[in-house]
């Protein structure tokens, strides 16, 4: 049975059995698969999976950010184990039950008891719980009851495991969160509900030590922080100067982790503090990568989760918050999208420079920029040659200014193209013809043929440079010539 696997970063977000078609995906709550993205990378109605024969086709529902495959935006794509489509921060792929999907590598070992989310699972849970209640009074009853409970529980658990897949046949989507974090998340949720926000943060931070990149943990931590800010009075402001001085001393002593703790204390109270930001960079530069998780616990937000460059991701900076990372990724993607839009207007040095800058600021694997740069260069060379040919035709028709324009255009597109000689030749022709026009203008003027004279002088203005003595005469004449 085919199954849709949704990944966020390297973590499986959920797996969905593809039983009912179509399946709508989007941010809106009415969708079959609701994907939430704080950065609004997901549209309300983003995409739809349709079955076409044996294929599952992911179709873009004219979303703002589209569907991306191998760095290219596509209107639709046939999903498969080897075809990963990206929408917003999520990646979608199809995995067959028989074959272990690649995505499962990121999933910890099978959970002892999956968390059911559909009503289909509820009777088993309740029955198990009910059956497991020990009988009252005698010890014998306790023992018998215990054995009976184990037998009944096993009887229920075996079919549950066997029919786990078939449960979803009646449901379009079954959401299975990563099991190892469900406990801490549930605890944290309860603590948040009880307004014990600091305790919730501590619970999550403990789990984050083990799973530093888990998105769900990070999301709950964010909620806990919001709850802290809303429910609790602001903590006393730290002595900023003293904290920063201590941080400087610690950086001097190469104790970057401790310095970072001090700095974060200041930044928590004053995120815009420039000195703290500067010191944060110094501390980050001085600390090894392994020190980063230790400082994560003191941070306000989760650390960045790297997105591969092939999917538009960037290399996270040391101790970079995920929030900041996502902003950088989005900004870079905007630059990329802008370059792609510019490419539609044809090759230009600006386009090539834009691609080069993108590569410089990202990596050679960033989306398809390297291929696009090569394409732009190739197209540029071809277009430049075409412009030279057009210039030759225009020169033959004595449209010299247009010919020079084409040559300059060619040079702009491909600066290595030798066009100087042709430009100089045409400029010389312009001067010869311009002086001839000037002579004819003078002649016509003296015989009172002002219409003709004006025409010749207009040509003079087109052909001769302003430094030529006739240019001024022509300018004066054209300016005062009777219409």
């Amino acid at each position: 049975m085919a199954r849709l696997v949704v990944l966020r970063g390297e973590t499986v977000d959920r797996r969905i059995d593809l039983l009912r078609m179509p399946i709508r995906i989007g941010r809106g709550q009415k969708n079959d698969v609701v994907l939430d993205d704080p950065l609004k990378g997901i549209s309300r109605d983003h995409a739809e999976i349709r079955q076409v024969g044996d294929d599952y086709v992911l179709v873009d529902l004219e979303s703002e950010n589209g569907i991306w495959v191998s760095g290219r935006r596509v209107p639709e794509v046939v999903l498969g184990p080897d075809v990963v489509a990206s929408i917003g921060p999520f990646r979608l792929m199809i995995a067959d039950d028989a074959a272990q999907p690649v995505a499962n590598r990121a999933v910890p070992a099978a959970p002892p008891a999956p968390q059911p989310v559909r009503s289909q699972q509820q009777p088993h849970g309740r029955a198990a719980a009910k059956t497991a209640q020990p009988p009252a009074n005698s010890q014998q009853k306790w023992v018998l009851g215990g054995i009976a409970a184990i037998v009944i529980a096993a009887a229920i658990a075996v079919p549950f495991v066997i029919f786990r897949g078939s449960e979803s046949q009646e449901a379009a989507a079954v959401v299975v969160p990563p099991p190892d974090v469900t406990g801490p998340i549930a605890d944290a949720e309860r603590q948040i509900g009880a307004n014990l926000c600091k305790e919730a943060i501590a619970t999550i931070d403990l789990a984050l030590q083990r799973y530093p990149n888990n998105v769900d943990l990070m999301n709950v931590r964010q909620r806990a922080e919001t709850c802290t800010a809303a429910a609790q009075p602001s903590p006393p402001l730290p002595d900023v100067a003293a904290e920063l001085q201590a941080a400087r001393d610690l950086i001097g002593a190469r104790d970057c982790a401790a310095a970072m703790t001090r700095i974060n204390t200041v930044l928590t109270a004053d995120p815009q503090n420039m000195d703290a930001q500067q010191l944060q960079k110094q501390a980050a530069a001085g600390c090894s990568q392994t020190a980063a998780p230790a400082t994560a616990l003191t941070r306000k937000d989760p650390l960045a989760v790297e997105i591969p460059p092939q999917n538009g991701g960037l290399t996270p900076q040391a101790n970079e918050l995920d929030r900041d990372y996502q902003v950088r990724v989005k900004a870079m993607r905007d630059r990329y999208d802008e370059a792609v839009a510019t490419a539609a207007k044809g090759p230009s040095p600006r386009l090539i420079a834009t691609y080069e800058a993108l590569l410089r600021d990202t990596s050679p694997q960033y989306l398809d920029v390297a291929a696009r740069l090569a394409d732009a260069r190739r197209a540029g060379v071809a277009t430049a040659k075409l412009r030279v040919k057009e210039a030759e035709d225009l020169e033959a028709k004595e449209s010299w200014n247009d010919a020079i324009g084409k040559l300059n255009e060619a040079r702009k597109i491909d600066p290595s193209l030798p066009v100087d000689e042709a430009v100089a030749r045409i400029e010389q022709k312009k001067i010869v013809r311009g002086e001839e026009e000037c002579r004819q203008g003078r002649q016509s003027t003296n015989y009172g043929r002002h219409g003709e004279a004006a025409q010749h002088y207009r040509r003079v203005l087109e052909l001769l440079p302003p430094s030529n003595p006739c240019y001024e005469t022509a300018q004066r004449y054209v300016g005062s010539a009777p219409k």
């Binding site: 002579r439 004819q440 203008g441 003078r442 002649q443 016509s444 003027t445 003296n446 015989y447 043929r449 005469t473």
Partner: protein, 197 residues
Amino acid sequence: MKTWLSTVCMVLAFDLVGALAQAPPASDPWIRKSSKPGDFRAGRLPWNSFSVELPEDWQLVPGFSTMLVTAAEKGRNNQPAAAIIIEHTQNTEPLNASDVDERLAALEADWVRQRDPAGENFEHQVKEFEGRRFLLVQYGRAGFNGRDHVVVYVMPAGKVMYRLICIAPEKQLAEKYQAIFAHVAATFKPAAAGSGG
């Protein structure tokens, strides 16, 4: 003896070829100095912007406006006589030798045709004499006694355009007047380009 004669003949033949090669090109009958320069005198004119030699026995008549002076042949018994009018006009844009070309000649011919609508058979040419380029426009028209032939020499000199308008009875043009007109035109020299008249 035969050898000696043939050598002499060969030398003479070479000399003849050499002499022919060095001979000046045939002069233009419309502009050349007369073989009888004594028949002309430098005109005593009140302008120093040009110089010219006019036929000695012709009478000078004052002009007006653009017409500076007229040199008229003294006719006998009311016989047809010739005249040369020296005219100058101001150029809006300065014209020099480099501006004298076929197009200017055509423009001039058009202009002359407008001034003398009775004229017929207009012709125009660009001429060069002693490094000076000028235009020649000629045409025929009815005269006092039979047809006249009009030859206009047009000589631009910067801001001034000089015209020598030469009129003669058509029948006597070739035998008498062409050489006179050619000498007057050959001796006409503006003092300096751009100077006014």
